[in-house]
């Protein structure tokens, strides 16, 4: 039996190291060797993966934080701050909503509470039938079913025509504030050209039509699940 003591191990390691070092004395010869090339590629890949892992660890938290901030900012536009004291992001509820007007099979609803009492909700939804596909909306509704705010989060409408649904282009979308199914008749939930209450933009009627129809569908969705949402518990 050979005892694997510390000394022999060290000696062995030193020997190997020296042999390895000697390889590097003649770089030109080394570079030609297939095994060296294989190892080098492996080392590079390993190092890259390692660094990426570290990078991910370092930035993970910050990135999650930023994304939450983004969402909070959007929510803040449709939910007045005075209405809630809870962490809205944390009080997320998922409601099955196939065929209920939000354009989604499962609608994520953020519930805002003040003093434990549900004061308002906000949900993301799709407005279908835009000029160039669907528009993603964030709709805020208070507990009585009155709209607190609507924002278009993403869309592909024609720049210069349909993009007036963005707040940076025009204030048209603010016209929904305060509307509800009860204070606006079903006939009213249309653009003026079709005999309703809402303006269309000059040159474009398709986009506003889609948004108006979408928001109405969103309100109907809220109406249907009102009880369930208002009695939400932690």
């Amino acid at each position: 039996m050979i005892a694997l003591n510390k000394e022999t191990l060290l000696q062995f390691a030193l020997l190997r190291w020296q042999r390895l070092r000697r390889n590097f004395d003649d770089l030109d010869a080394l570079r030609q060797r297939l095994d060296y090339q294989t190892y080098l590629l492996a080392v590079c890949a390993l190092a890259a993966s390692l660094l990426l892992g570290i990078g991910d660890l370092v930035t993970k938290e910050a990135i999650a934080e930023r994304q939450a901030e983004d969402l909070r900012a959007t929510l803040g536009q449709v939910l007045p701050e005075a209405l809630y004291d809870n962490d809205v992001l944390a009080s997320l509820r998922v409601i099955p909503s196939a065929g209920e007007g939000t354009g989604l099979d499962r609608t994520e609803v953020f519930v805002a509470k003040k003093g434990g009492e549900v004061s308002a909700v906000a949900f993301k939804m799709l407005a279908t039938g835009g000029y160039a596909g669907d528009l993603t909306l964030m709709v805020g509704v208070d507990r009585d079913g009155k709209i607190l705010g609507v924002r278009v989060i993403s869309h592909a409408e024609t720049p210069g025509l349909g993009d007036k649904v963005e707040t940076s282009k025009s204030g048209w979308i603010l016209g929904f504030n305060g509307r509800s199914l009860s204070n606006t008749s079903p006939q009213g939930w249309r653009v003026k050209k079709d005999g309703g209450d809402f303006d269309q933009f000059a040159g474009a009627t398709i986009t506003p039509r889609a948004v108006v129809k979408g928001v109405e569908g969103g309100l109907k969705f809220f109406e249907r699940h009102r009880q369930e949402l208002l009695t939400a518990t932690e």
Binding site: R31, Q32, Q37, L40, L51, G55, E69, D70
Partner: protein
């Protein structure tokens, strides 16, 4: 020594400019130069990637066999770009929201692999780093010039949203040059990028021709006209 550095600077910024002379890296160029700020951000991100990659590759140039250099370069570049992407997402989030889609595309930016191949793998680290800096700045220059031209003609503003990139201290950069401008969408869209790039390239060639002719006239010495094609 210094002469060589100054030549590197001149090449990177002007005579061998990635965009104006080599006409490469046009995809990110046309995609992000809708506004000056975006161009600047993309340019700086690319510069950072270019410098780090050049430096790493120059250090390893003696160790990397030519047979496997391309996979090694690609692995390195992809790593650096991904790191930049993550870091920007974390600390320059607003800009990342705008450029996010295009940052990963830096990997496919042929300028970076091109510099690694043509310069960094042959020159010592200091020069490679400096070359990366100058090529990157040259690219940034192109992006900013094109971005500015497109932004002014497309929407009448300059450096819109600069504070997102540079911090609130630079909010003064955001100017509206043409108030009440209706916006010339074509310029903000990719075709406008091509159009404007064409005009800028033509302008640069005109300028180069003038510059080449001047010493000829003054010194009356036979000099071949330097033409950058």
């Amino acid at each position: 020594m210094s002469e060589s550095l100054s030549r590197i600077a001149k090449e990177g910024l002007w005579s061998n400019n990635i965009v104006f002379s080599q006409s490469i890296a046009l995809c990110p160029l046309l995609a992000v130069t809708g506004t000056t700020t975006n161009g600047l951000g993309m340019g700086l991100a690319t510069t950072a990637v270019l410098m780090v990659c050049n430096l790493l590759i120059s250090y390893g140039r003696l160790l990397i066999p030519s047979e496997i250099r391309i996979p090694v370069f690609v692995a390195l570049i992809a790593m650096v770009v991904t790191l930049v992407d993550m870091l920007m997402n974390a600390w320059l989030h607003e800009l990342h929201k705008v450029l996010g889609l295009f940052i990963p595309l830096i990997v496919t930016n042929c300028a970076i692999l091109g510099r690694a191949e043509a310069y960094a793998s042959r020159k010592p680290p200091v020069y490679a780093l400096f070359d990366g800096l100058m090529m990157g700045l040259g690219f940034t220059l192109a992006l900013v010039v094109l971005g500015a031209a497109r932004e002014v003609s497309g929407s009448g503003t300059l450096f819109a949203n600069a504070s997102l990139l540079l911090g609130q201290g630079f909010a003064w950069l955001e100017t509206t040059l043409i108030p009440e401008y209706r916006g010339f969408l074509l310029m903000a869209l990719p075709p406008g990028g091509f159009l404007m790039l064409g005009f800028i390239l033509a302008g640069k060639r005109l300028l180069d021709k003038r510059l080449a002719r001047r010493p000829l006239r003054n010194a009356a010495i036979e000099q071949p006209l330097a033409e950058n094609v």
